[in-house]
Symmetry: C2
Subunit: 174 residues, 2 copies
């Protein structure tokens, strides 16, 4: 599955990179979910990706220089997938996409709280997040200070989940 190069139009070429049903979902899980291993991506995927498709897309995204793969020193079979700068700069696009979907599509509350926060945070928050990703995936020098953007988003997600569980009486212990 290569780039067809149907035309040199930037929008067309962008679509040829991630204009399918899975590539951007995988990148989303790596970026926002912090997943780095095959199994994490396979089992953690909300949408239930099949293992052969995951393998194919990871390979394709590596060929396109969106991802790199490295050995995990702690486990000789494990591979660690890392974002490239090319993929990290998708953050503003993902933020816009999330914001658009939140307005026009039947999103669920839990899963859109992250998009809402990211939208409210605006470009400064996106920049901070991209720098954190650079540190995490590219080994860029400045370690993030204070709570990370991902942790902030995750905490908001967890809070919504907890609140909704309480509301329907799913509190574990009386």
């Amino acid at each position: 599955m290569n780039i067809d190069r149907r035309s040199g139009c930037p929008i067309n070429l962008s679509l040829e990179v991630f204009g399918d049903r899975w590539s951007l979902i995988i990148l989303r899980d790596i970026i926002f979910g912090g997943r780095r291993h095959f199994r994490e991506l396979l089992n953690g995927s909300m949408e239930g990706i099949a293992s052969n498709i995951l393998a194919d897309r990871l390979k394709r995204l590596m060929e396109l220089s969106m991802l790199t793969k490295a050995d995990d020193p702690s486990h000789k079979q494990k591979a660690i997938y890392s974002l490239t700068e090319m993929a990290i700069t998708l953050v503003p696009i993902l933020a816009h996409l999330g914001a658009w979907g939140r307005v026009w599509l039947p999103v669920s509350e839990e899963l859109s709280i992250r998009a809402e926060l990211l939208e409210k945070g605006g470009p400064p928050m996106w920049d901070k997040f991209m720098n954190e990703l650079r540190h995490e995936h590219l080994g860029a020098s400045p370690a993030p200070s204070g709570p990370t953007v991902r942790a902030t988003l995750q905490a908001a997600y967890d809070a919504v989940i907890a609140r909704n569980a309480e509301r329907v009486g799913c509190d574990p212990a009386p």
Copy 2:
């Protein structure tokens, strides 16, 4: 071809709307190319879409409320496709997508000049363009004043074409 609703995640749902190889290309041609008829979209498409796929996607985009169809009073068989507000608000996403593609992908000069201008114009230009689209497609009241954004982009494109034609000695008349 309906929305699967694999999950309520905004990014996933957005992808289910236009995460294929053609939907966004069609919207691009309507938005930036000003095309409104089936044949215009079919023949004007840089990427060479097939008529059955175009028909299918137009139908799908109408079901998703991204487009509406109306009779052309001047031709009983002609249909005019119009953008909905939902589709018009994709402009910032298309602008980002174009900007990203221009940085990371092997775009051609002619086809990326529009993306470059749109990027430089920033949100104010996008807003102006969206208002023009609202006038054109939704009959919104304020007619655009001065040169339209689309005309500006088109002129820049034509200028690049002309300059390159001259450079390789393709000037029509001596």
